[in-house]
């Protein structure tokens, strides 16, 4: 033993550890509070609000109707961003989100309007089919070992093609209308298309806190008559995703699956199950989006959801997630979605040429990603 003891040095000896400690700079609590994955998107959101407050203050953008307007658009982005965020942290992509939105919408309209099933059943069928496709996406990625980028790119085309085919084959059109009538009085349709706090808004209108319509058949009603369920879904999904990711055992496994799948497997994490479930969750979010949209518009169209997969991924990346997985934040992704919605609608309010939207968005994307990369390196010691 003596040989071991002399050669291994002093295990509890002071000098080695003290040396190490001296080299770790004290991190101020302010810095610690600031350096977090969401920082880039927080800065971006503040910047965007200040910017539009300066240029579009008088346009009605910050009136109740204006706020509702960009909130709804942001909520749409947020719903698909939550799914994309958790999936990206688990180390995978889903490029079929946009096609999934079109597909689910057509399924709902087909079953409720064309085939005459009750609305609630049509919605449930759409969710079951979507979860099945999400599972298939995940299963193929795991089984073939191909990058999810390729597998879901295939589904981007397969689902879009099927959607158009089904719509044309059954109705000779790519748009199926009449959903609003079919949804009338349906309990499940109300969960996606209704509004809450209606009484509160009537009261606010009566008190003169928000304005009311002065003429027309809605005279006397408040201009904003409730919070759309779309926004409730967005907030609910963000809270669910955030708690799941940061506070639960499953969330730890999501990080692990994306951080290093092999290392996660060594420690007994069911990586395949985690990834497949995240593909299913992404499909679920896409279907929530589709259901809200179909009920709001009163129709389903085969070309809905175009490019939504990229908008979701951009929101997630603005929110601080790492494209290669293992790192990110649901709150960040939600802020990314907010930035997206505010910029898109804000330029409209400000009367700016709408083509500049993409320029603006590109600049924000670039700035947020540069800042995020710096933050992430500080936190994780990544080189």
């Amino acid at each position: 033993m003596s040989q071991a003891d002399t050669q291994t040095g002093s295990p509890n000896g002071g000098p080695p550890e003290e040396d190490v400690d001296e080299r770790i700079r004290e991190v101020s609590s302010l810095r610690k509070a600031l350096v977090r994955p969401e920082l880039g998107s927080i800065c971006g959101a503040v910047l965007v609000f200040v910017f539009f407050f300066l240029i579009a203050r008088d346009s009605g953008m910050f009136s109740p109707e204006g706020i509702l307007n960009w909130s709804v658009v942001s909520a749409q982005f947020a719903i698909i961003a939550v799914g994309a965020c958790l999936l990206m942290i688990a180390g995978e992509f889903d490029l079929s989100v946009g096609s999934m939105i079109g597909f689910s919408g057509i399924i709902i309209a087909l079953f409720s309007v064309t085939l005459g099933y009750p609305m609630w059943l049509a919605i449930i069928i759409a969710f079951v089919v979507a979860l099945g496709i999400g599972w298939l996406n995940g299963y193929l990625v795991i089984r073939t070992g191909l990058p999810s980028f390729i597998v879901t790119l295939a589904f981007l085309y397969i689902l879009r093609g099927l959607t158009i085919f089904i719509a044309i084959k059954t109705t000779n059109k790519t748009i199926i209308g009449g959903v609003r009538d079919a949804a009338e009085g349906d309990w499940l349709a109300a969960v996606f298309g209704g509004k809450i706090f209606k009484g509160l808004f009537v009261w606010l209108g009566d008190q003169g806190i928000i304005s009311t319509f002065v003429a027309g058949n809605r005279a006397g009603e408040p201009v904003v008559d409730g919070i759309p369920m779309l926004i409730v879904w967005a907030i609910g999904l963000v809270i669910f995703g955030h708690i799941l990711l940061t506070r639960t055992r499953f969330g730890n496994w999501i990080f692990a699956a994306g951080g290093d799948a092999q290392a996660a497997r060594y420690t007994g994490v069911p990586v395949n199950r985690v990834k497949i479930l995240m593909f299913m969750f992404t499909a679920f979010c896409a279907t929530v989006f589709a259901t809200c949209q179909v009920i709001e518009f009163g129709s389903a169209a085969a070309d809905r959801g175009l490019l939504k997969e990229f908008e979701a991924i951009i929101s997630v990346v603005i929110g601080g997630a790492l494209l290669t997985g293992g790192y990110g934040s649901v709150v960040g992704a939600a802020l990314g979605a907010l930035i997206f919605g505010v910029v898109q609608q804000g330029l409209f309010f400000a009367g700016v040429e709408s083509s500049l939207f993409r320029v603006f968005l590109g600049v924000i994307l670039l700035l947020a990603v540069i800042l995020n990369t710096y933050i992430r390196r500080t936190i994780t010691g990544e080189r």
């Binding site: 050669q7 295990p11 639960t248 055992r249 730890n252 990080f255 996660a264 007994g268």
Partner: protein
């Protein structure tokens, strides 16, 4: 002598036409450090992956406490108390020390209907266990990526010990480390052994092995060249066995014994 904690007898492992192991036998007793030596490609990693349930042997048997067992998955072996720190480290650099420490066994606290990770407990235990191994963390939320290689090895070892490993397998824990970090890891191995845990220490560095080893088994091209106890064999002899005989001996002459 009591029964070994684990004993592998005449293990063969074929990968298609490649014969990675061709009859290897090793046993590990409680409180001993059994060193597995061999050059790159000798089959060391393949052998311990068989012990850890990652690979299933083509032929041969595994005895746990004297009873034959079959580890069909890594989980089986882990549940039987066989903990492994892999060469490519089962650590996730982007995640915090606490999250890594508890990976797959996160402590749960019930809040209403929710089952959340008990971070207060998890952080406390992580800090305590790391301190016990002589590493003072800045904070438990620190990412593993900010730790040095030796510290990462120590997190992995501390984790295995805390979760009640009976046999701890370390695959080349010192090969990528500097002098001081190496001596810290060797000191940790010594501490772990004194708790009565059987340690399998893989290395191709004879000096590191001699520093902590109780027994030495040399692998060469998938075969056991023999097992020796501490004191029965000289470092030079081990070195020679590892190189598979004469080649290094002749080299050593021309290099003046510096290898």
């Amino acid at each position: 002598m009591s029964t070994p904690l684990i004993e592998l007898v005449d293990i063969e492992k074929h990968f298609g036409s490649v014969i990675a192991l061709n009859g290897v036998s090793v046993s590990v007793n409680a409180g001993e450090c059994h060193c597995l030596l061999g050059d790159n490609g000798a089959g060391k990693s393949t052998f311990i992956k068989t012990m850890a349930g990652v690979h299933q042997p083509t032929r041969g048997k595994i005895m746990l406490d004297g009873k034959q067992v079959v580890f069909s998955t890594a989980r089986h072996a882990i549940d039987a108390g066989i903990a492994t720190v892999y060469q490519d480290l089962a650590m996730i650099p982007l995640m915090s020390v606490t999250r890594n420490f508890w990976m797959g066994r996160e402590p749960i606290r019930k809040v209403g209907p929710l089952r959340l990770i008990d971070f207060e407990h998890a952080n406390q235990v992580t800090m305590d266990e790391m301190a016990r191994m002589g590493i003072r963390l800045r904070e438990p939320g620190q990412a593993v990526g900010t730790l040095s290689g030796g510290e990462r090895q120590t997190v992995a070892i501390a984790r295995s010990v805390y979760f009640g490993a009976k046999v701890l397998i370390l695959d080349e824990p010192t090969s990528a480390l500097g002098v001081r970090q190496t001596s810290n890891v060797l000191a940790t191995i010594d501490k772990v052994r004194k708790k009565g845990i059987g340690v399998v220490f893989i290395s191709h560095n004879v000096r590191h092995a001699m520093a902590v080893g109780d027994r030495f088994t040399v692998l060469n091209r998938g075969q056991t060249l023999g097992t020796a106890k501490r004191g029965e064999i000289k470092p030079e002899e081990l070195q020679e066995l590892m190189a598979g005989g004469q080649e290094l001996a002749t080299l050593e002459g021309s290099l003046g014994g510096t290898v």
